[in-house]
């Protein structure tokens, strides 16, 4: 390729940031001869996303000079790099203040007063997205801190960059964040505060996946081993790859990321591919509003994820693993980075893991603010340095995945389930829960409950019992509905909560567990505001690739706003509801990926089951 690069010069800070992130120009003399043109471009391309992070972290935005220098070093066409950078919400393509407060405006936080917070912030700090000031703020989608909303993430560009989460946040916190930055906020509350069951011995006794959260030191490999860590991997190696996959298949473990696909089948499919290399991608993008379980697992017990991934890699023949971690998770990133380097230093990752005769290593890829990158093929494009657009299926990831190679993609929670399976066997695992939904499940309970947090229970508890476990709706209020599965899920009405939270139970109830979101609404919450937020979320997060979703999510939001403003006649509203159904149908039928397929589900369920849009006519 003979590329043409922009003439704008990078600043010294940008040069230094790129020196640290990608080194000097990799397009050195001789590279081409050694590796060949096409290969060179591919070899460099996957460094694009980390390099963009480096620029954003250092100067607070992506400048023409910085982007041009990055393109020269990585041999990426500037138009493409611009296309990639502008895809992500965390990257600003215009000069922006170094300090930015991201104030959550999403569903669970709305139940906890985010609406009032945003109004107060506006009054105290002025409009969002200001320029020419040291700090500004902007509303944000769910930050994965729903158990202690309303939440805020503060970022400050510099050398080094700083970040802090503040939750619950008040308007004064935002003002301080803009003036002084993230370093002003003390240590975050311990992660175990998100696990109410851990507070009582009886509750703690029932925890399997979360048993070490708050108990082990997440920074200590020794402590992890002292609490049973790495026994599962030893068992796996003793069994051999075939038996590991047999046990996982027998356990009937299904994916916890939303699609409930059998893990054993996925692993077997990759293990059987003669093509090498095989890759393992751990999906820790966790951007479904109301989901925060993977954050709790990673923050509280990072070695368990590393061990699980190592077991999976051993069984499926993966040499390299990637953890695609949500960009807005500073503490999870820190704990995971530390744990990976400690594990590597002690021979638990790298060539010849634990002297057991196989190689495996893990790299963290930080996401940059795009819900769609959690989709299992968009995640590949994002890691490879392309726009995070879903790919066409077939071919499926087990055949043609990351870098075009057979790839296992699993959710964090799915992976850590492999530890109890290796310790006690697939049959013992399958004995927990129901025959079709085996093992325990971590639910993210948020909204109007007294004790929001993650709850781990054997599959089979009813929705009512789950709400009670989380302390029920606060005194003096009454339950109106539950949003199951997040924005991509659906509402169930208050009088229909006696069905079991199992995959089959949800399906029979025409709903879905999705990623395990149980968002509880009471009579203080304005359902119409909630619905508008859901519509806005999908409009914001659509990747824009296909027409039904790119335009449909916009028309859906417009119609919903028209109806809920309450200024239309009944006849006009009826026409708009009919329009919503038609738009919803084409999104479900003809979109490329799950985002479009589900963009109408929650709104449809609110109309059909909650009667949400009745009586709003003028």
């Amino acid at each position: 390729m003979d590329l043409r690069f922009p003439e704008a010069e990078p600043t010294l800070a940008e040069v230094q940031a790129l020196d640290a992130a990608v080194g000097p120009s990799l397009v050195a003399e001789g590279w081409e001869r050694e590796y060949g043109g096409a290969h060179r471009a591919e070899a460099l391309r996957h460094r694009l996303l980390p390099a963009l992070h480096a620029l954003q972290d250092r100067v607070g935005y992506i400048s023409p000079g910085g982007l041009g220098e990055l393109c020269r070093r990585l041999d990426v066409p500037p138009a493409e790099a611009y296309g990639v950078a502008s895809f992500y919400a965390m990257f600003s393509m215009r000069e922006r203040p170094v300090r930015v407060a991201h104030v959550c405006a999403d569903l669970a936080c709305q139940a906890l007063g985010a609406g009032a917070l945003l109004d107060a912030v506006q009054a105290q700090c002025g409009d969002p997205n200001q320029t020419g000031v040291p700090g500004t703020w902007q509303p944000s989608p769910c930050l994965g801190l729903c158990e202690r909303g309303p939440a805020m993430l503060v970022t400050e560009a510099g050398d080094p960059a700083h970040e802090a989460v503040v939750a619950p946040a008040i308007a004064d916190d935002v003002a301080v964040a803009l003036r002084v930055g993230p370093r002003n906020f003390g240590v975050e509350v311990p992660v175990v505060a998100a696990v109410p069951q851990a507070a009582t011995p009886a509750g703690a006794a029932g925890l399997v996946l979360l048993q070490r959260v708050g108990i082990v030191d997440p920074a200590s490999l020794d402590d992890y081993r002292a609490h049973g860590g790495y026994q599962a991997l030893r068992n796996a190696v003793t069994m051999g790859p075939l038996d590991v996959i047999r046990e996982v298949t027998e356990s009937n473990l299904v994916g916890r990321g939303g699609a409930a696909f059998p893990a054993g089948r996925k692993w077997a499919a990759v293990a059987n591919q003669p093509v090498r290399t095989h890759y393992l991608v751990c999906n820790a993008d966790e951007s479904e509003p109301g989901t925060f379980k993977d954050r709790v697992i990673i923050e509280g017990d990072p070695f368990s994820l590393i061990e699980s991934m190592t077991i999976c890699a051993f069984a499926t023949g993966c040499e390299q693993g990637y953890i695609y971690l949500r960009g807005e998770y500073p503490r999870a990133c820190e704990h995971l980075q530390h744990a990976i380097s400690v594990a590597r230093d002690h021979g638990y990752l790298g060539a010849n893991v634990m002297g057991l005769g196989f190689s495996f290593d893990i790299e963290i890829v930080r996401g940059a603010g795009a819900y769609i990158c959690g989709e299992e093929t968009a995640i590949f494009n994002s890691i490879e340095g392309y726009r995070g657009e879903p790919r066409n299926k077939p071919p499926f990831p087990v055949e043609v995945g990351l870098f075009g190679k057979p790839t296992v993609v699993n959710n964090v929670e799915t992976l850590v389930n492999v530890i109890p399976i290796m310790l006690h066997g697939g049959a013992a695992f399958a004995a927990v829960g129901t025959p079709a939904s085996t093992g325990t499940k971590v639910f993210c309970v948020s909204g109007s409950v007294s004790k929001p947090g993650v709850y781990e229970v054997p599959y089979g508890m009813t929705l009512r019992e789950m709400i009670e476990l989380a302390g029920g709706v606060p005194a003096g209020r009454s339950l109106t509905a539950v949003l199951l599965g997040g924005a991509a899920g659906s509402f169930v009405p208050a009088d229909d909560i006696d069905f079991p939270l199992t995959i089959e139970g949800a399906r029979e109830h025409n709903t879905t567990l999705g990623s395990g979101v149980v968002m509880v609404l009471d009579d203080t919450i304005d359902l119409l505001t909630f619905l508008r937020r859901i519509a806005a979320f999908f409009r914001d997060e659509s990747c824009g690739q296909c027409v039904p979703c790119r335009v449909g999510t916009v028309r859906q939001e417009e119609a919903l706003v028209r109806i809920t403003l309450g200024r239309q006649s009944r006849a006009e509203n009826e026409l708009d509801v009919a329009l919503l159904r038609e738009v919803g149908r084409v999104m479900r039928d003809a979109s490329i990926c799950g985002l479009g397929h589900t963009a109408w589900s929650a709104i449809e369920s609110a109309i059909d089951r909650l009667g949400a849009l009745q009586g709003v006519d003028a």
């Binding site: 390729m1 003979d2 590329l3 043409r4 922009p6 023409p64 982007l67 041009g68 066409p77 500037p78 138009a79 493409e80 790099a81 611009y82 296309g83 502008s86 895809f87 992500y88 919400a89 393509m93 795009a370 726009r387 066409n392 409009r539 914001d540 997060e541 659509s542 990747c543 824009g544 690739q545 296909c546 027409v547 039904p548 790119r550 335009v551 449909g552 999510t553 916009v554 028309r555 417009e558 119609a559 028209r562 329009l579 038609e582 738009v583 149908r585 084409v586 479900r588 039928d589 003809a590 979109s591 490329i592 397929h597």
Partner: protein, 293 residues
């Protein structure tokens, strides 16, 4: 490059039988459903499909129902399988096709895309259902006129990705343009939206060749449309060989009133597949300037 269109030499392809709208259809293995529909005489609308490009299956106007598949399937990219049962024209497929056309029509100026207009009538698509065109979100914007050769009017852009693929590794290897932004804000752009003369564009015009909506247009056509003198019915097309170098690309000269108004190139040409360089595509301006002198 273009794997779908490479015909393996010497290896006869196995035939696959599938059912389309109740009829058995036999096509070579590796064909797409769209190929099979063509051979069966079934006409499907397509927008992002390009006969010289890899399918991106983004517009979804060509979707059909395949029994056993939960969602509808893009016919332009899905390979046929033996025993597949395809419905191209049932209520479900028609609904999606109509909605795709309506959604596009509600947000994009399709007035320079006559084929689309025909399909909108065929499927009874009525974009005005979505509300007041003045308050609805659309991609309306001024045309970008930043060079003498061609105009980019992205208020006509349906984001079919074809120009990007023609400019990138499938043909031109210039990478002057890419998709930027996300969601409804997604758009075709140079880096930081710089003007074409400051970009990597070499004015081959291969993007114009594949653009299905007139978003990319010869400056001559743009100016004539603005002056209300553009009249396709009064135009003639003559295919000739480019005189500028020895490659021998085919040029189709579109003339109106004895003046060349635009240049295209036959897509079925074995070597160039519709692609030209600046000289073949835009050199006519020199010819005419010459003639006038």
């Amino acid at each position: 490059m273009n794997m779908l269109h490479e015909t393996p030499v010497g290896l006869p392809r196995r035939a696959v039988t599938l059912q389309i709208d109740g009829d058995d259809v036999k096509v070579p293995e590796g064909s797409t459903i769209l190929d099979a529909c063509k051979s069966h005489g079934t006409d499907l609308p397509t927008l992002c499909y390009g006969d010289t490009l890899d399918p991106v299956n983004a517009c979804r106007v060509c979707v059909v129902e395949v029994e056993g598949s939960r969602a509808l399937v893009p016919s332009c990219s899905r390979p046929v399988e033996s025993g597949m049962v395809v419905h191209t024209d049932n209520e479900r497929a028609r609904h999606s096709r109509k909605m795709v056309l309506e959604l596009l029509g509600s947000s994009v100026d399709l007035s320079a895309a006559p084929r689309v207009y025909g399909w909108m009538q065929q499927y009874e698509a009525d974009p005005s259902r979505f509300g007041d065109v003045n308050t609805m979100k659309t991609v309306r914007q001024p045309a970008k006129v930043d060079n003498d050769l061609y105009v980019r009017d992205y208020s006509r852009c349906i984001l079919c990705y074809k120009c990007v693929d023609a400019c990138g590794e499938q043909w031109q290897n210039s990478f002057a343009i890419a998709v930027a932004g996300r969601g409804f804000d997604a758009r075709i752009s140079t880096e930081f939206d710089v003007e074409l003369p400051d970009s990597a564009c070499v004015y081959c015009g291969n993007c114009i060749e594949v653009c299905p909506t007139g978003a990319l247009m010869f400056k001559t056509e743009h100016d004539m449309r603005a002056a209300n003198t553009w009249d396709e019915d009064a135009q003639q097309q003559t295919t000739t060989i480019c005189p500028y170098c020895g490659v021998g690309c085919n040029l189709t000269l579109h003339t109106q009133d004895n003046t060349i108004v635009k240049v295209t190139s036959p897509h079925d040409h074995a070597i160039t597949s519709g692609n030209l360089c600046i000289k073949g595509r835009f050199g006519f301006q020199h010819v005419q300037t010459f003639a006038r002198d």
